[in-house]
């Protein structure tokens, strides 16, 4: 299900290539969203070339996020497989009723399972100075919604393959892409880093290690765009002989920590990192599940890092201070080991 990564492609190109391929293979797939037609090809260019190749199945929509998300649900209920692009993840708030009270409900609300094969893709995250309403990581609002699968590939994943798996699932998927990952070359083992899937699932957890001998000093669990901070940090810490095991789950919800337990038990020090604002966050759930399963072997309280619970400033200095950064992660690791 998860083919080996093609050499040195970017996160954005992987998604774009998967879309082109999927639409070629399956006539039920439609692509909908704002400003997605060529030559523009979407605000982040993920749909470049799609409308030229499939003019009938790529539909540029009015600026009606709730409307076209609901539209996609209706299409899915009637046998098509729409993929929706929400231009900025922040606008998911507008589509929330359609996702929570319609798309996700139809799966089981009628007393039997209905196929609702919709994928809603959207870029989240800061780092580009877009300010408070175009930089958030709002996925935590949707975690735990019954019948809604939330997926967020890091660049240690093959995002295109995960997108294929999302379309194949037959149920609603919220597919979160960190906008800072788009230009990144996908990670592969090499140098100090070893990368391998920890699980063989449609939305696997990838394990990135910066050591080949001995045991991990700290287990870091993070997702999505955090891989952009963690890969260089892991390389740097390899030189400092700090052994990091970094688990990058792609499946945020529903979630189980089962695959992480051997590693967590073995090293006893765990750090959870996410870019969303702190409080009522993904890490809270992961920590709760990990505590319940590993409290006897923990050598330190589970540490958590998230961004400050504030709006995201536009200025570079303000944004850097507010969002979780590599320096925050580094000092937390050192704190755990002290």
């Amino acid at each position: 299900m998860n083919a080996p990564l093609p050499a040195s492609t970017t996160y954005a190109k992987s998604l774009n290539a998967a879309l082109l391929e999927m639409m070629r293979e399956d006539e039920r797939i439609y692509f909908l969203g704002e400003d997605i037609l060529d030559p523009y090809g979407g605000a982040f260019k993920i749909s470049k070339g799609l409308s030229s190749a499939f003019p009938d199945r790529v539909i540029t929509t009015p600026i009606s996020e709730a409307g076209f998300t609901g539209l996609a649900t209706g299409m899915a209920l009637r046998g098509l497989r729409p993929i929706v692009e929400i231009m900025f993840g922040d606008f998911l708030a507008i589509a929330a009723d359609q996702i929570i009270n319609h798309m996700a409900k139809f799966v089981t609300m009628y007393g039997r399972d209905l196929e609702v094969p919709v994928v809603v893709r959207t870029p989240m995250g800061g780092g580009r100075g877009y300010g408070a309403t175009h930089s958030q990581s709002l996925e935590k609002i949707f975690l735990g919604t019954p019948n809604l699968t939330v997926v967020a590939p890091s660049h240690a994943h093959d995002p295109g393959q995960l997108l294929r798996n999302a379309v194949a699932l037959g149920r609603p998927v919220l597919f979160i892409e960190h906008k800072m990952l788009y230009p990144e070359t996908l990670l592969a083992s090499g140098g100090a880093l070893m990368i391998e899937p920890l699980t063989d699932e449609p939305f696997p957890t990838m394990l990135m290690k910066n050591f080949s001998r001995g045991a991990a000093d700290v287990l870091i669990v993070a997702y999505g765009g955090m891989s952009r901070l963690l890969a260089p940090l892991a390389r740097q810490m390899a030189e400092e002989e700090i052994n990091l095991a970094i688990a990058l789950p792609a499946l945020l919800s529903p979630m189980t920590v089962a695959p992480l337990l051997p590693l967590a038990a073995q090293c006893g020090r765990v750090l959870l990192v996410e870019e969303g604002t702190t409080g009522f966050d993904w890490g809270a759930e992961v920590a709760a599940q990990l505590y319940a399963a590993t409290y006897k072997t923990l050598k330190a309280p589970i540490a958590r890092l998230a961004s400050r619970a504030e709006i995201i400033p536009t200025s570079t200095a303000g944004e850097n201070a507010m969002l979780v950064g590599a320096a925050d992660i580094e000092s937390k690791i050192l704190e755990l080991l002290a």
């Binding site: 929509t61 609901g70 209706g74 098509l80 009270n101 139809f106 609300m109 007393g111």
Partner: protein
């Protein structure tokens, strides 16, 4: 009246009495404590589901319904027993008692309890049917109050933009729960789809033959690539909004009762036949409810 018209009217009368009888029985069951949650009945509005659904082709066309959807279900060919069982939360219900009154799906029938929320979903279904070339038309029933929801306007826009085979069937009963239309809508409510270029027919929603004729025309236009259509049907709800209080003046309700669809249809039919029909349907529905109750007691 010619024979064909008479045949139509007798069929519609039976359907409307069935809907009315089921709805009244549901209110009684609620009062008895045999129903939980809520129940919105369409007493006094029976002509709209009956006339509109009679213009549809079962198996090909699709109905998207709302919180007040029992009449739509029955008129679209749904059976009374699984509907009543569903609303009673019984596992033998059409959705195993999980959906309840506002969340029902069977074949091409889908309902949901979020006002206006089905407008874009229904529009997407129409897009799918158009692309598949099935010739199917989608009907979305919605109340006058739901027209204030933003997604309804979004759906009107998309349906018109892409010329989709959908009929928005507005049941304008002058109220949203306790709020009269005048307190919540600016401008001319029946003209809501006009800026999008959607043809609108406003009509007396208590005249079942008129509703049927208008629906046939609108569904035909939608099926024939005429794009979305709106029927704006004026009616009046004779029962409470849901199961409880009714803040409206009883004299006003009584005035409207005389103009309700069932007495209006009855005026064109043989009163003796009507009485027999009423009794027969009352007995059938009573037997259904008795059956569900006995099965429940037996299971306990």
């Amino acid at each position: 009246m010619d024979a064909k018209r008479n045949d139509l009217l007798t069929g519609f009368y039976e359907k409307m009495v069935l809907i009315n009888t089921v709805e009244s029985s549901l209110l009684n069951l609620f009062a008895e404590g045999l129903l939980r949650g809520t129940v919105h009945t369409c007493l006094g509005q029976e002509a709209i589901p009956t006339g509109v659904c009679a213009a549809l082709e079962p198996g090909r066309d699709i109905v998207c319904s709302n919180h007040r959807g029992h009449g739509h279900f029955l008129a679209f060919g749904g059976e009374a027993r699984p509907l009543i069982a569903e609303i009673m939360g019984d596992a033998s219900g059409v959705c195993r008692g999980i959906g309840g009154s506002q969340h029902i799906q069977l074949g091409n029938f889908y309902s949901n309890g979020i006002l206006g929320g089905m407008s874009p979903v229904a529009t997407g279904m129409a897009l799918a049917e158009k692309r598949k070339g099935s010739g199917g038309v989608v009907v979305q029933f919605l109340g006058d109050g739901a027209l204030a929801e933003g997604v309804v306007s979004e759906a009107f826009n998309m349906a018109a933009l892409w010329s989709l085979p959908i009929l928005f069937a507005v049941e304008s009963n002058g109220f949203a729960q306790s709020t009269p239309t005048a307190l919540e809508h600016a401008g001319k409510l029946s003209a809501r789809g006009a800026p999008y270029g959607i043809p609108i027919t406003e009509l007396d929603g208590n005249d079942v033959l008129a509703v049927h004729a208008a629906a046939q025309e609108a569904v035909g236009a939608a099926r024939g690539a005429g794009g979305p259509q709106i029927l704006f049907m004026n009616t009046y709800r004779l029962g409470p909004h849901s199961k409880g209080d009714d803040p409206r003046d009883p004299a006003e309700i009584a005035r409207h009762a005389e103009q309700a669809p069932i007495p209006r249809a009855r005026a064109g039919l043989d009163p003796e036949w009507c009485d027999t029909t009423d009794h027969r349907i009352a007995a059938e529905v009573a037997a259904i409810i008795q059956g569900i109750r006995s099965a429940r007691i037996a299971a306990q």
